[in-house]
Amino acid sequence: MDYFLELLFGGLTRGSIYALIALGYTMVYGIIELINFAHGEIYMIGAFTGLIVAGLLTMLGFPGASILAIALVCAVIWAAAYGYTIEKVAYKPLRGAPRLSPLISAIGMSIFLQNYVMLSQTSDFLPFPELIPEFDFLKGSGFPMSSPELVIVLSTVAVCIGLTLFIKYTKLGKAMRATAQNRKMALLVGINVDMVISATFVIGSSLAAVGGVLIASHIGQINYFIGFIAGIKAFTAAVLGGIGSIPGAMLGALVLGLTEAFATGYVSSDYEDVFAFCLLVLILIFRPAGIMGKEKIQKV
């Protein structure tokens, strides 16, 4: 039973990690039907910014918890700026173009950012400091989660609730939903669609940056390539849950994380990915739009 619980919590952590990244994929897809392949790289840039800021603050002698807070804020701002710029540079000029063009542009952006960080920083692995403090109440309590894991799960839950409320009740959230439903109509009723799209990229990138800093501090190492695998898994999670749907991304990420954890625990980690992708195939056979995706009726 203990073993089951440990795997369950491990899977929850892993699912939360995927969820933080998957939200960005699904939001962007919901609004402009573009798979933003550069999103994984935003996550990586967030982690790098966190590392640089944390390094500077540690040198200046700041106390532990404040380093985490400041590093998070800086990473969010910096990654949001990247998200904003990428949208303006790589996607906006192609808005009227066939759907394949921005997709290729996204892949190009992803490769560019990876190589840029590799050249400007290093291609080696770098140690990431443990920014998340150990909580005293967890020690000896027998709770099968370490404090970084707990922080990651709780932040993901908080982010998910916050985002849902934001989309549902704020003016910008309403404008986002309107744009997602019908961009032309949204323009006609006076919504600044360009601004809404930019805001989507900024929010998605910020979430990825939060994920980048928290996850890097949990794992303890980063390099220029971490965004690729995390991005692929998060993208899978978003598709699993129904791309374009925010609750879908969270659910998909959790399902993926738990599947991987239990597959490793009860079968073998050799087959971790096999199980994850078999599940994806199965779900897409029975629900082609994903668990929570809406099926669109295509008119011929």
Partner: protein, 390 residues
């Protein structure tokens, strides 16, 4: 105007992250230059040292340093009066690391009446040529063929090597684990050729030992975001040690995750982990980790002398397998000297019984032909540094 804004934004972005980057170090490697001697048949009173291996083609960079090493050793021995009064001459045969060319090279050696051969370089080529040498009682010594069965099969009493076989690392690791009194071993690998190969050898050796067992044999996916499930599995398997086959990024993630979950069992790994980056990345969690790595012979006098001679003669740093090749040439010529002739039985006897000082240390060969005293050593991380465990 809007475009200008955009461009300015991009430049600002690039500049700020780039400003944090370190200087790129550019190290240019000089190509090793070595030419192949197309020697003629030696007149009487000369001792011919055959050198076979890849001297042209894709893998020439592995073979040419051996030719250089043979020439340097020959020059050194000749300057000191030769072997039993005979001057040493080096004759090279190219096999391009291809088995079909290797048999040709062996036949040529045979028809040239060469008695001692340094080579071949690649395991596949060596395996193809060995029966020809064995049949005509030619002593073959390779500086680089690491395939375990070449010696361990026992089929080729004429074959020797100055490099440790592929499974030597695993054998040393398991012997060391046994010495620490560890019984239940969890073997983890990264599913790659190198890591899985090492892990499979470890599993094999652990299963052979009485009282030792493999409690877990699993591959992890390199680059995955989290290894906690595997770590839980190690814990629930009841293992009292982990042997990991793979490279340092995964090793540091696994060892950190283990220590964070308060699993304090010994962590043993391979020379993919014996890298200072591992210590840098894993930080305090690296303390106490064991890793096997090649023996350090950089302080060896003969090695230093050989490298200096190479620089003087060829104007460049020596290439791969140079120390092993230099040692093999020394061992062969010394064995002929000790035997008093190139008689097959006497030379192999001398190789197996008499120690010789070489660039990789003082060695002699065991009954199967592997050099004793070469190969790997165990290192442990102590105070942020790898220290050899004696």
């Amino acid at each position: 105007m809007r475009k200008l804004h955009l461009i300015a934004l991009c430049i600002a972005m690039v500049a700020m992250l780039a400003a944090c980057g370190g200087e790129m170090e550019k190290a240019e490697k000089k190509d090793e230059q070595a030419d192949v001697a197309t020697g003629e048949i030696a007149p009487a009173g000369k001792l011919v040292l055959g050198v076979a291996g890849a001297h042209s083609g894709d893998l020439a960079s592995y073979g040419l340093p051996t030719v250089n090493a043979a020439k340097l050793v020959a020059a050194k021995v000749n300057a000191a009066g030769g072997v039993n009064g005979m001057q040493v001459e080096v004759v090279a045969q190219d096999d391009q690391c291809k088995p079909e060319l290797a048999t040709n090279a062996a036949t040529k050696m045979l028809s040239d009446d060469v008695k001692i051969v340094l080579g071949h370089i690649c395991s596949g080529a060596t395996k193809a040529a060995l029966p020809i040498y064995a049949e005509s009682q030619i002593v073959l010594m390779s500086p680089s063929a690491t395939n375990p069965p070449l010696t361990q099969s026992g089929e080729y009493p004429n074959f020797f090597r100055t490099i440790a076989p592929d499974d030597a690392q695993a054998a040393l690791e398991v012997a060391f684990a046994k010495g620490l009194g560890l019984k239940k071993i969890a073997v983890i690998h990264d599913k790659g050729d190198y890591g899985k190969g090492f892990a499979s050898f470890c599993k094999q050796f652990v299963e052979k030992e009485d009282g030792m067992e493999v409690t877990l044999f699993e591959g992890v996916t390199p680059g995955a975001v989290d290894y906690s499930a595997v770590v839980q599995k190690i814990k629930s398997s009841g293992a009292d040690a982990v042997i990991f086959g793979g490279y340092h990024p995964e090793a540091s993630k696994i060892v950190s995750a283990m220590r964070k979950k308060n699993i304090d069992i010994p962590f043993l790994s391979d020379d993919g982990v014996k890298d200072d980056t591992f210590i840098k990345v894993a930080g305090k969690y690296a303390e106490g980790v064991y890793a096997t790595g090649p023996m350090d012979f950089s302080a060896n006098e003969i090695y230093k002398e050989a490298v200096a001679a190479h620089k003087k003669e060829f104007g460049a740093d020596p290439g791969p397998f140079f120390p092993e090749a230099y040692s093999a040439a020394l061992a062969l010529l010394t064995a002929v000297e000790n035997a008093g002739s190139t008689d097959y039985a006497k030379v192999t006897e001398a190789l197996r019984t008499k120690y010789v000082d070489t660039a990789v240390g003082k060695i002699k060969f065991d009954s199967k032909g592997d050099a004793e005293g070469v190969g790997f050593a165990i290192y442990q991380v102590r105070d942020g540094k790898y220290v050899e465990v004696k």
